[in-house]
């Protein structure tokens, strides 16, 4: 049986919440429009005057743009013709070179044009950046990274199925997330379910060290090593004792 009244209330909440952004933007745009139209009626004459004076230079600039583009388009054509000329008339002075220098100078004299020609290579650089980002992805994700959703999923399943594989998974993940209390807790649970899983001992000991209980960790590992002769545990014990693992 579901709690219908509660669910209906939550649904209403959700509906209002999901419509809120639309309502806000609607009110906002309405407000802006009313404010704008208010100013528009009072200042309309001035705005038109400003627009008129501003319009003329804009047109001339555009004309210039077209001229530049035309001259730029011609440039590569001339170059190719000249290069073929060079093959036939071996030692002719390269007039095109001089021409281009002159043209370059002419371009330099007009700063507006210069800026325009420079814009293109900048765009190219941006395009080139993308593959670099893509390449970085695989190098970053080397280690297993489990999302909190995975943990929630396993937590849920562990409640239904007391499988030590699940609790060990939780212990490892909590350890990696830095939640040493939960890590030690689940390591202990794993250990109670199955004493032979080495990882549960190691994670329990490591979590203890992280929580400042170094002595207890050492004692625990010594006990485990005496029973299991585990080399991994021995290595960890050494590292803890020497302070290499902190």
């Amino acid at each position: 049986m579901l709690n219908i009244p509660d669910l209906e209330k939550r649904w209403l909440h959700y509906k209002i919440k999901s419509f809120l952004p639309y309502i806000i933007t609607l009110i906002f745009t309405f407000l802006i429009i009313t404010i704008y139209s208010f100013f528009d009626t009072s200042n309309s004459k001035k705005i038109i005057k400003i627009k008129e004076t501003k319009n003329t230079p804009a047109v001339t600039k555009e004309k210039k743009k077209i001229i530049i583009q035309k001259s730029l388009q011609k440039k590569p054509l001339q170059k190719t013709i000249n290069s073929s000329e060079k093959h036939t008339l071996k030692l002719s002075p390269s007039m095109s070179f001089i021409k281009t220098i002159q043209r370059d100078k002419a371009i330099e004299k007009r700063p507006v044009k210069y800026k325009k020609t420079k814009l293109k290579p900048i765009q190219k650089v941006e395009i080139e950046l993308k593959p670099i980002h893509k390449k970085q992805v695989p190098t970053i994700t080397i280690m297993r990274q489990n999302t909190s959703k995975d943990i929630q999923n396993i937590l849920h399943r562990f409640k239904e199925d007391k499988n030590p594989a699940l609790s060990l998974f939780l212990a490892k993940n909590y350890y990696e997330l830095g939640d040493y209390k939960k890590a030690s807790n689940y390591a202990l649970i794993t250990n109670q379910l199955n004493k032979k899983i080495e990882d549960s001992w190691l994670i329990f000991a490591k979590s203890l060290v992280k929580m400042g209980k170094k002595e207890k960790a050492i004692q625990l590992l010594q006990e485990y090593i005496s029973k299991s002769h585990s080399t991994n545990a021995a290595i960890l014990l050494d590292n803890i004792k020497s302070g290499e693992f902190q």
């Binding site: 049986m1 579901l2 219908i4 669910l7 209906e8 939550r10 649904w11 909440h13 959700y14 509906k15 919440k17 992805v137 695989p138 994700t141 080397i142 297993r144 990274q145 489990n146 999302t147 995975d150 999923n153 199925d161 499988n163 030590p164 594989a165 699940l166 060990l168 998974f169 199955n194 032979k196 899983i197 990882d199």
Partner: protein, 269 residues
């Protein structure tokens, strides 16, 4: 009289049972290719995908279909302890009981001493829960070509890539299971209901309703099961409160789908 929604609700209980398997075009193609792969001298087959994409269902179905004709073994829950793992395989495949510890070399000896007519197939579900060390041994075992392994792996988005790269470098075959498309989801829902003779409820899942469900679950089978289970639970609850006016007869109002999604946590509200 028992409510018609009760049967429909029970259709969507999240269980894995080979008799509940539904033929979906894409899944069937993968299923056929997997069946063929098993006959090939490939060393190992990796089945991977997000949780709820039907990996366990796949293995269960495969096991069910092939077990009459082949030595095939399914392990649904992972066995963590190495010795425990070898002992179980020794017992199931080679009928060798072993008391005390059994290590890898001893197990290999058993494998080599027993001559089987055909290569046994071992299906391991949830391989991401096995330890790295044991996975390495499983790999070594499959390299000997004495046992063929089919393993499933649940990989999160970030891990997907590594999984592929890692397994591609070896001669393993990898198969990815994905969430269903809208059309597949509709077939899935309707076939599932019709299998349980719930024809009336199967009919109320219109294009629009399935579209909405797909938007919420992204075509994930498990999420869809949860959502629809709750949806029918909702109808039952209305019925019990004698609010028959609230129960749809020919289509499902979006409101109810959203309410079910809130209840299952697919919508955060």
């Amino acid at each position: 009289m028992k409510s018609i929604y009760l049967n429909s609700k029970n259709v969507f209980i999240d269980t894995v049972n080979s008799k509940d398997y539904i033929q979906l075009d894409r899944v069937s193609i993968i299923y056929q290719s997997l069946k063929n792969s098993i006959q090939k001298p490939l060393k190992m087959i990796l089945l991977y995908g997000k949780p709820g994409t039907g990996k366990s269902m796949f293995l269960t179905k495969l096991h069910n279909d092939l077990s009459p004709s082949q030595n095939i073994y399914l392990y649904k829950t992972p066995i963590l302890d190495e010795s425990e793992f070898y002992k179980l395989l020794a017992q199931d495949i080679f009928e060798t009981k072993y008391s005390g510890e059994l290590n890898f070399t001893q197990f290999i000896k058993i494998v080599n001493s027993k001559k089987l007519e055909s290569i046994p197939v071992v299906l391991l579900d949830e391989a991401q829960l096995y330890s790295q060390a044991l996975m390495e041994k499983i790999r070594l075992l499959s390299d000997t070509r004495t046992i063929k392994f089919v393993i499933t792996l649940h990989k999160t988005q970030k891990e997907d890539l590594i999984a592929k790269e890692h397994f591609k470098t070896r001669i393993w075959e990898t198969i990815e299971l994905k969430n269903s498309s809208k059309t597949e989801l509709k077939i899935y829902i309707q076939k599932k209901l019709m299998k349980a003779n719930c024809f009336d409820t199967a009919n109320i899942f219109t294009e629009k309703t399935v579209h909405k469900i797909h938007k919420l679950t992204r075509g994930n089978y498990r999420d869809t099961n949860k959502l629809l289970y709750t949806l029918f639970d909702l109808f039952l609850s209305y019925e019990e409160r004698n609010r028959f006016d609230k129960i749809p007869t020919n289509k499902i109002p979006t409101k109810y789908i959203e309410m079910a999604a809130i209840q299952t946590g697919l919508i955060d509200a």
